[in-house]
């Protein structure tokens, strides 16, 4: 009896062990080209002249393609930038990954829907008799909270989610008893801000209710330095993050310190943070 039980337990264990392998083997295979679409917020969609703010736009660099998911269209729309064509794809063939990126499945069938017309300021296409237009997303200007920035920019959210702040630096920042303010000037038009400011947003999120306060200020590209708030702080470029302790500026995150801004903040506060990889 005992032997039977042992054998049954062993068989069950073997089955449970093999199951994930089997499931992994059956996991949907991504298309060789149309994969690795990441959220993209440089462009906004309008359909038949009306803004479609809930549309989700993804971009795959290597595939040179945009993928648009919007309730305004019956199916996801694939925009092939190199061929300047537009196709629709079955929603079931779009696989969302855990990291927020999206793949088309290998067996996805692209149903041609027409041509993409391209101008200097954007592009337009027609799907199912509806006209979609992609135009540059308006810049985020003025005083903003981190939550607003994350809500505004899907790419910021994507990068922030993937970033892992250094736990030691976070601990040091949480222990800060002084009145600490991190004032960050950014330009939503600036590619370097797009690549780095999300790390600071994640740091703010990770700190939670710590005493460190984060404020963000969006600057326009034209006349950036002439903006009164920028002139007041002597801003000549973005992103510029100023650390203010008890009402006094103690330093700025250096341009080469943005890969881990939380460590740069700790260094500016006068403490050492253990190096961490991105």
């Amino acid at each position: 009896m005992t032997t039977r039980r042992t054998l049954a337990a062993a068989a069950l264990l073997a089955l449970l062990t093999a199951l994930p392998i089997r499931l992994a083997a059956q996991a949907p295979v991504a298309d060789a080209l149309f994969k690795d679409f990441t959220p993209w917020s440089e462009w906004s969609l309008s359909v038949d002249g009306r803004s479609a703010p809930k549309a989700r736009i993804y971009y795959a660099k290597l595939a040179q393609a945009l993928l648009i998911r919007s309730a305004e269209f019956p199916s996801p729309v694939l925009v092939d930038l190199s061929g300047r064509t537009v196709a629709t794809v079955d929603l079931m063939k779009v696989a969302e990954r855990g990291d927020g990126a999206v793949d088309l499945l290998a067996d996805a069938v692209l149903a041609p829907a027409g041509r993409l017309s391209v101008g200097k300021e954007g592009a337009a296409f027609e799907v199912g008799g509806r006209r979609g237009e992609l135009r540059a997303t308006p810049h985020l200007l003025g005083a903003r909270s981190g939550a607003e920035m994350l809500a505004h920019d899907a790419y910021y959210r994507f990068l922030a989610d993937r970033f892992q702040p250094d736990p030691g630096a976070l601990e040091r920042l949480r222990a800060e008893a002084r009145d600490v303010r991190v004032l960050t000037f950014f330009g939503s038009w600036c590619p370097h801000c797009r690549d780095h400011v999300p790390f600071l947003l994640k740091t703010e999120q990770a700190l939670g209710r710590a005493r460190v306060r984060f404020d963000f200020y969006g600057l326009p590209r034209a006349g950036m330095t002439a903006e009164p708030e920028a002139a007041k702080w002597g801003i000549t470029g973005v992103p510029t993050s100023i650390l203010v302790v008890d009402g006094r500026e103690v330093g700025r995150i250096p341009n080469d310190g943005w890969s881990h801004p939380e460590q740069s903040l700790v260094r500016l506060l006068g403490g050492a943070a253990a190096p961490a990889s991105k």
């Binding site: 080209l33 440089e42 660099k61 290597l62 595939a63 040179q64 930038l81 190199s82 391209v118 101008g119 200097k120 300021e121 954007g122 592009a123 540059a136 330009g187 038009w189 600036c190 590619p191 370097h192 801000c193 590209r221 950036m224 330095t225 002139a231 002597g234 801003i235 000549t236 470029g237 973005v238 992103p239 510029t240 330093g251 700025r252 995150i253 250096p254 341009n255 080469d256 943005w258 890969s259």
Partner: protein, 327 residues
């Protein structure tokens, strides 16, 4: 009376001799500085022409021609001073040149002090990336040039023997510098004239200082590891879109090594390129202060292996396959 006046006579005799030596030293120092500066600029006369054009000093002349003229003048004045021909016209010209340098650096310092700093970056993200502030540049010029110039005025007119031979030698030196500048664009001098050469660590290619310092690996992190072909290009060049299409095809085919393109890219042009080119390769906007010291003419290319430059090309490597012998 006669014996009492003797020491005064010696002093009177020694004074002009000391003045002549001081004048010679001042002229020599100033002349060498001017010659060295002219020689350095002669390696990349196009960059110097761009600077003159930015200052509005080229007049109706093409920047390259204006640069040759300015270099000839600077080298001639420097060589005449080195030859100790400290005649009034030479010193007047040297004084005007020094005054001009001080005017330019002083104006920049004033502008910086009054918040009128031009953004040096194409995308406008970065501030004015300078390795020395305009105020520092002004003070360094002031300290290096003015004392030497003041000394050069002492004990004029300098050499009185073999004047023609000295003048001819100075003229020959100036012509040599100008000739070098005229020929430089076609000479393989990139390694001398730029900061990009074999063996250079990519992480060491930086611009600006303190908090504003920007390094190439910060802008293009993929250059820190692996093997990549890097192209420095002018995206306003009519041939760029055709090149970009080739690079896209290469990237999609998975051809090794992958390509990174570095250029000055204004945001509106970047958005336009998204639709017209849709780069499948890595394309980075690099501020001018960081990019300009890396080339004399565009395009220029280099190969990076584990963060170190292992080959450079003037132009593009043949068929982009990194097969051609680098220079």
């Amino acid at each position: 009376m006669a014996t009492a006046s003797l020491p005064e006579t010696r002093a009177e005799q020694a004074r002009p001799r000391a003045a002549a030596w001081l004048g010679l030293a001042g002229g020599l120092a100033l002349g060498l500085v001017l010659l060295a500066a002219a020689l350095a600029k002669a390696l990349d006369p196009r960059a110097f022409g761009e600077e003159l054009a930015a200052l509005g000093l080229t007049g109706p002349l093409p920047p390259f021609v204006a640069a040759l003229g300015a270099l000839a003048l600077e080298a001639l004045i420097g060589a005449l001073l080195v030859a100790n021909l400290r005649r009034l016209p030479v010193l007047a010209a040297a004084s005007a040149l020094v005054a001009f340098f001080l005017f330019v650096t002083g104006r920049d310092a004033w502008r910086a002090a009054h918040g009128q700093v031009d953004a040096a970056s194409a995308c406008g993200c970065f501030g004015n990336l300078v390795d020395r502030t305009p105020a520092e540049a002004f003070h360094q010029d002031l300290l290096m040039l003015v004392p030497a110039l003041a000394l050069a005025w002492l004990g004029r007119p300098g050499a009185t023997r073999r004047v023609r031979a000295r003048a001819a030698a100075a003229l020959a030196a100036a012509l040599a510098v100008t000739g070098l500048a005229a020929a430089a664009p076609d000479l393989p001098l990139d390694g001398w004239a730029t900061r990009l050469d074999r063996g250079v660590e990519v992480a060491s290619l930086c611009a600006g200082r303190d908090a504003e310092r920007v390094c190439l690996t910060g802008i293009a992190p993929e250059l820190a590891t692996g093997r990549r072909l890097v192209l420095l290009v002018d995206i306003s060049d009519p041939g760029f879109e055709a090149l970009a299409r080739d690079l896209n095809a290469r990237q999609r085919a998975g051809t090794e090594p992958p390509v990174t393109v570095l250029a000055e890219i204004p945001p509106e042009r970047g958005q336009e390129l998204f639709w017209t080119v849709a780069p499948a390769f890595e394309l980075h906007d690099v501020p001018r202060a960081l990019l300009r010291p890396l080339y004399r003419t565009l395009p220029r290319s280099f190969l990076v292996e584990t963060g170190r430059v292992t080959a450079t090309w003037s132009g593009l490597p043949g068929d982009l396959a990194v097969a051609r012998e680098p220079r």
